[in-house]
Symmetry: C2
Subunit: 628 residues, 2 copies
């Protein structure tokens, strides 16, 4: 019979291997492929287009696109203004910082960003986390200037961190926040955020600064005497209004403008009500005086040495990761809907630069918001010009309309926040996780309860820990399966799955479904010997021909380390002592190389390595017949 040899991968020097590995780690998408075989001028143009995507779509921009972008830009502006004010309050920052943050960053993103649908500005999760992390050490009411300084500094570090992730092409770090984790984390954060709004909705003055569910709820019910019925009535009516418009738009995506216009409508209506009845209504707190004018420079506000620097850096890194995750995920979602690509590492640089610049222009951390980007997409945005239109609208507001917000009640901001974050509670996704993967569901729930009962950071840490643990568990206790032959073919498949497959007499064919690592080599050794023992027991009971050969199908052993090689060596020795031949089949390239380099193959006899299970069986069977 014709037996095929198992080949070694082509020889490579350590340097070549390192180069290949590093390019796979850092440049999996081969970002320079467009530059190959081009003239220097084209290279320059391509380079400009690479760093400033505006050069890519700018030359083809026309009036029709502009019309779409103006409509969508105005729509998201009407959402961005009330949300900006609300999210700034969520981060315990002055409301105007939220408007500043909706002006400068979108302009920068329009030049650097590669997504056409991302609507940039402050977002709920990052605002919450920033407010909560800084608030643990510094009080925003007692030291508002220090708090603002730290927020701006955290934004600077968030930007530096994001841009360096992109520059160093370490974008894969955000992949460690799995979808499952995020579902739980977002839902927990949304509940925390909504509960925080009870302060505004009930008109409570003395409220806990903590974020966990228990102190917040006890704070709500300890101060029932502070509940203000006027505030409650106004808050609940507008909340009902906002939720209804949201429901309408979710049902019919064509009516997106209903929910998009609702927040601004609520702000205007409630402001008019409060203004009209200002002599009669008491106990409704309002935003108060806001300063006119565009973003003041804030480079002098950065807090670059002192006892809280560590806190600012930590807050920056965590909010940086979170906002990056949201921004990239949103960008990818809408890119895949319109079938274009968003380069993760480039987006990171764009978002990072935007935050670095923002921190010097009185902006706190910003990214692509999911809710506003969805509205942007539905409103027909075609390019990043919609962000420019939005920024222009915010500019007009900053310059001329600020006095109008003086009588806007705070309660309305709470209602707007609740309506915005309630969409983050994706119970359907959680149910899908439960159906498909119990461990993913567990990771999701740990994040959820971690955020609710411990803290936002702890919830995140727990969830990442559970996700990692899941990977390690899979590696520690991998599947081993017994294979059988599907009659009339050369196909060998899992006996317990394929009823039609049958055992090959005198052979035990095992498949290992995992890399063989230090973490599982002892287990695999034990487990394989147990398979052999059980097979021998079975043979003894059924009086079949005795076991002569164990075939180890290594197709799914994707990697091996020195402990794994040791385990194979030990197994061979043990089986040899029991007069059972041990055969390896189809090791993948990397594994084959290591087996070769460790010289373990020399200890196998001539017939110790085959390319397919079928060839191994037929070749060894013929040997058995030759020497019975």
């Amino acid at each position: 019979m014709d037996v095929h040899r198992v080949c070694l991968p082509p020889k490579q020097t350590v340097f070549q291997v390192l180069k290949h590995r590093l390019s796979e780690i850092f440049f999996p998408d081969d970002p320079l492929h467009r530059f190959k075989n081009q003239s220097p001028f084209t290279k320059l143009v391509l380079g400009l287009q690479y760093f400033f995507p505006i050069f890519q779509w700018g030359p083809n921009y026309n009036l029709k696109l502009l019309k779409s972008d103006i409509i969508s830009g105005l729509t998201i502006a009407s959402l961005a203004i009330p949300q900006g004010i609300s999210y700034a309050k969520l981060a315990n920052l002055p409301p105007i910082i939220g408007l500043y943050s909706s002006f400068v960053p979108p302009l920068i993103y329009a030049v650097l960003g590669s997504s056409r649908h991302l609507a940039v500005g402050p977002v709920s999760i990052a605002s919450l986390v920033m407010g909560s992390m800084l608030g643990e050490s510094v009080s925003n009411t007692e030291e508002p200037i220090l708090f603002l300084k730290l927020a701006l500094t955290a934004t600077l570090f968030a930007g530096i961190f994001q841009a360096s992730l992109g520059l160093l092409r370490l974008g894969f770090i955000i992949d460690f926040l799995s979808k499952a984790t995020l579902v739980g984390f977002m839902a927990g954060a949304a509940i925390i955020v909504s509960l925080q709004q009870l302060k505004g909705l009930l008109g409570i003055v003395h409220f806990t600064g903590k974020m966990q569910i228990i102190p917040v709820m006890s704070s709500v019910f300890k101060h029932t005497n502070e509940w203000s019925w006027q505030t409650i009535i106004m808050g609940l009516s507008f909340l009902a209004f906002l939720l209804t418009t949201r429901h309408i738009s979710t049902r019919k995506p064509k009516l997106f403008w209903v929910s998009a216009a609702a927040p601004l409508t609520s702000v205007i209506l409630s402001t008019i009500i409060v203004f009209a009845f200002r002599a009669h209504i008491h106990g409704i707190s309002t935003i108060g005086h806001l300063q006119k004018g565009i973003n003041p420079p804030s480079a002098n506000m950065l807090y670059l040495h002192g006892p809280y620097l560590g806190l600012a850096i930590k807050t920056g890194i965590i909010t940086g990761i979170l906002s990056l995750t949201e921004g990239i995920a949103v960008g990818r979602t809408f890119a895949s809907l319109r079938n274009y690509q968003v380069d993760g590492n480039k987006e990171m640089m764009a978002i990072g630069l935007m935050n670095m610049a923002g921190s010097c222009a009185s902006c706190y951390v910003t990214t692509g918001s999911f809710s506003r980007s969805a509205v942007n997409f539905n409103a027909g945005a075609q390019t990043a010009v919609s962000n420019i239109v939005m920024a222009a609208t915010v500019l007009v507001t900053l310059l001329f309309l600020m006095p109008l917000f003086t009588y806007t009640p705070n309660v309305i901001l709470g209602a707007i926040i609740i309506t915005a974050v309630i969409g983050l509670i994706d119970y359907r996704a959680a149910y899908r996780l439960w159906c498909v993967d119990k461990l993913d569901f567990f990771a999701c729930m740990s994040a959820f309860f971690g955020v609710l009962f411990l803290s936002v950071q702890m919830g995140l840490a727990i969830a990442v820990g559970v996700s990692m643990f899941k990977i390690l568990l899979h590696v520690t206790r991998p599947n081993t399966v017994v294979l059988g032959n599907i009659p009339g073919t050369q196909i060998f498949q899992n006996l317990s799955r394929y009823q039609v497959a049958s055992r090959v007499p005198s052979f035990l064919i095992l498949g290992i479904e995992s890399p063989v690592y230090f973490a599982n080599s002892a287990y695999l050794q034990e487990r394989i010997l147990r398979w052999v023992r059980e097979e021998e027991d079975r043979i003894r009971e059924s009086n079949e021909s005795p076991l002569k050969c164990v075939v180890l199908d290594m197709s799914a052993v994707t990697a091996i380390d020195t402990s794994g090689i040791e385990a194979i060596r030990e197994l061979r020795k043990t089986l040899e002592k029991r007069l059972i031949q041990f055969v390896l089949v189809n090791p993948v390239g990397e594994v084959m190389e290591k087996l070769h380099r460790s010289r373990i193959l020399e200890s196998f006899k001539l017939n110790g390595l085959y390319l397919t299970v079928g060839e191994a069986i037929s070749d060894i069977s013929s040997l058995f017949k030759a020497q019975p």
Copy 2:
């Protein structure tokens, strides 16, 4: 053509899956298999034998075995007495504690342990770590009683931790200390230990309490005025003697007794010299008066509440893990040489109980020592009786021979320790790691330098971190390969490895060599699209027939999670938009189940799933021919 269907694994309830998973995690060796189908009496006997292995070999014990055990027992006793005293000093404990620890624990192990060759007693690494961890907070010279109390308490917690690992069948935790890590860690620890002995060898009185290489070396050269030439001459001569005997025994294992007898010979010789010239020699410090008598009970010494309890628990857990790792590794090594099995979880219980009992009988943490077990093995030990013989010899020493140690110079203990630990520096193993696996070598070196320059615990933590990171890196950036057909067969193999393999026109066959997880789903999606792009570029250049179908061989995709499923769904959509068919081949059981449960398979057309690449290609080619 006959096409085989891909089967789902047999249906199981959540409870059945959970039961199977848990039994694989906790009972991979099926420890109860011997109890199946046995009478109640046999079950009782087997149960007794399971918990007390002495009942297994005891009944067949005979005079011939006893003779071997007495010889080996006396041999290891001659090694255990000087080493016991030395290691206790290494842990900053009174020397007699080392002798106590060589008496009670071996007796307990003889009853409970399942290894026949393990020589039980104090070991260097655990002694070093215990001394160093406790010494960071409590000075052994200023508060010797507190220090001793903490050491005993740490021993108790080490025992509790070890026994519970065994009882809860969590033995796999020690697998996370990979061989590569241990090589580096041991070598680093050996160097630290040897450098510590410079204090004794040079006769320095004022020596640093720190463990890192830099303070130790500066301490050595800052106190050159304290160097005592008598001590140095004596120390170096005996060190040379011990190293020579060690060299002889390593070269000729038959002469094991040369190195086994050398430490005791050195102790006797040096004691005689010091005693004879005691009037003339000054500056040689000696052990001094040791109390006669067997282990005093020490349950009243346990430190169970107070500020240092946390320290004792932490020290207990770390020394517990380290001593467990050594004990189990040694047990397994010699078991595999004699072809018997050592049950890891049972050994953990035995070692744990031995330490728990030891902590109440003035013993500090003990385990199976590698060096003494090797001597035990070479001296022909047959059963755990050699441990009993050794304990009896130690008993005689404790009762009658203690005054003889009064004039034993401390310098000789230093020489004995250096000789014992020098074998832990396994540079050949490190070189082998370099040859076979660069990342393993990196883990090894991190542990080595971490121990040398930071601290023993940090070195350990770094090494475990690097090992974990290696697993995660493999998962984050898995291999994807392009497969081709080996002409005349149904074998599909890596094109870059098998020169004979050739592309199938109109098809791109990709193999993924890793689970598809949240940590790599974005990467794989990008990478696969890049393969498609590169294939299309190649086809365009060589004017071949256009790409019509991408076949994804999932044989080596050993698991998938919800993010992975999402990636497959996205890929299918993207390829569909480009009019390329997307086909999955041979998902393993677990993956198939999740694909099924997530209903993603319904989105594939009828011809979206095949059992082998060959069948996929021939079936789809015939379809292409039917509808050109």
